[in-house]
């Protein structure tokens, strides 16, 4: 009982689990591509989903955690703190843009903000790899450069998707919190120090 035409399909309940998972994975993957090569398109907005943001947030939070043996001296963010910052921050920005009069729906905005964390997650991966080498100023400069580039990429990607939904004389007011949000995440990534 395979269903090939998705729009007229109402019995996805009968398909194999592999089909379901592959379909969702393909949707997530397609959106990742849209974030990596941001153009003004409606795909992210039209078919929003929160799987991608969840995967990215969990990955980021896991990588930002370290084995806290000296948990008193360790001042970095814990898993729950990263999670709360990402989701609470995204909800606040969404509420802000809706209160300013934007015509984007709540979950569409969450979707865009969550997916645009992808460049910063890549930066986190790169930083962790770079930190395996010997510490020093060159190590830090490389990490700083990577984080700055990925931060700019996140901002450009999210602006490309979100800017059109704001009234024209309030665009800056709606974009500034996005800037602050990604700046804080970049700071958490840059100041990550392993044991």
């Amino acid at each position: 009982m395979r269903s090939h035409i998705r729009e007229f399909d109402s019995s996805t309940l009968n398909e194999s689990v592999q089909n379901t998972i592959m379909r969702d994975l393909k949707a997530v993957g397609k959106k990742f591509m849209h974030v990596l090569y941001p153009r003004k398109s409606n795909t992210l907005l039209r078919d929003w989903d929160l799987w991608g943001p969840l995967i990215l947030c969990v990955t980021l939070a896991l990588m930002l955690q370290r084995s806290s043996i000296d948990s008193e001296k360790d001042g970095g963010p814990q898993f729950a703190e990263v999670f709360v910052i990402v989701w609470f921050g995204a909800v606040t920005i969404t509420l802000n843009s809706k209160l300013l009069g934007g015509n984007i729906s709540f979950f569409q905005s969450l979707c865009v903000l969550g997916y645009c964390i992808l460049p910063l997650t890549v930066a986190m991966l790169v930083c962790r790899l770079v930190l395996l080498a010997e510490p020093g100023p060159i190590n830090f400069m490389v990490r700083l450069f990577v984080v700055i580039v990925m931060f700019a990429w996140s901002i450009v990607a999210s602006t490309a998707f979100l800017a059109d939904s704001q009234p024209p004389n309030r665009k800056a007011l709606a974009i500034y919190p996005v800037f602050l949000f990604y700046f804080v995440i970049s700071w958490m990534i840059l100041t990550f120090t392993p044991q």
Binding site: K73, G75, G76, N96, L100, N169, R170, L173, W187
Partner: protein, 245 residues
Amino acid sequence: MTCSLKLLAGQKKSSPFWTFEYYQTFFDVDTYQVFDRIKGSLLPIPGKNFVRLYIRSNPDLYGPFWICATLVFAIAISGNLSNFLIHLGEKTYHYVPEFRKVSIAATIIYAYAWLVPLALWGFLMWRNSKVMNIVSYSFLEIVCVYGYSLFIYIPTAVLWIIPQKAVRWILVMIALGISGSVLAMTFWPAVREDNRRIALATIGMIVLLHTLLSVGCLAYFFDAPEMDHLPTTTVAPNQTVGTAK
């Protein structure tokens, strides 16, 4: 213009408070208006009332909320960076991001930005029932003034990274001077009809709380740049910084 803008029930907020539109009226500002208000908070001119000039019965919550959010992160990040620079070169220092301080900073700043206006508004309403004042402010207008007056602390917090005690205290004076005078000039018309002592005490209390906030943040989030380690740090080696603390 001697209009008394009493309480929250202005003419434009007609939606009931459980609808989304009610809260949208507090975000009814354009980009240039927010910039104008920020500029007004940075340039206190005697005789020009911030509320009358810039807010004009359209108080917004966008400015206070996001200025406080930026200030929270500015203080936490600058404090962390400054401590890192001060202790750079010490063999026993291990850098930690001190993430807990963000929550502490958020609690302090947001509590100040909401509770002090609430107390002030209650006090002014109480005095208003005893002495007929010509000018009275709504709660949201007071929140607005306090929120925008905190803006000067954002560049101040960033400049506090400089590990020189004298520089830091000069910055405190400048910031306190500017934002304190904005607050004083805003609230003086609301209390000047009152008993002289009470009026002066009110203004004094406003400035005192503001001072406590800035000095408290400086003391808690920024380590003192003491010279108790080898002078291989970024502090100029020929100066002897006071080690009173």
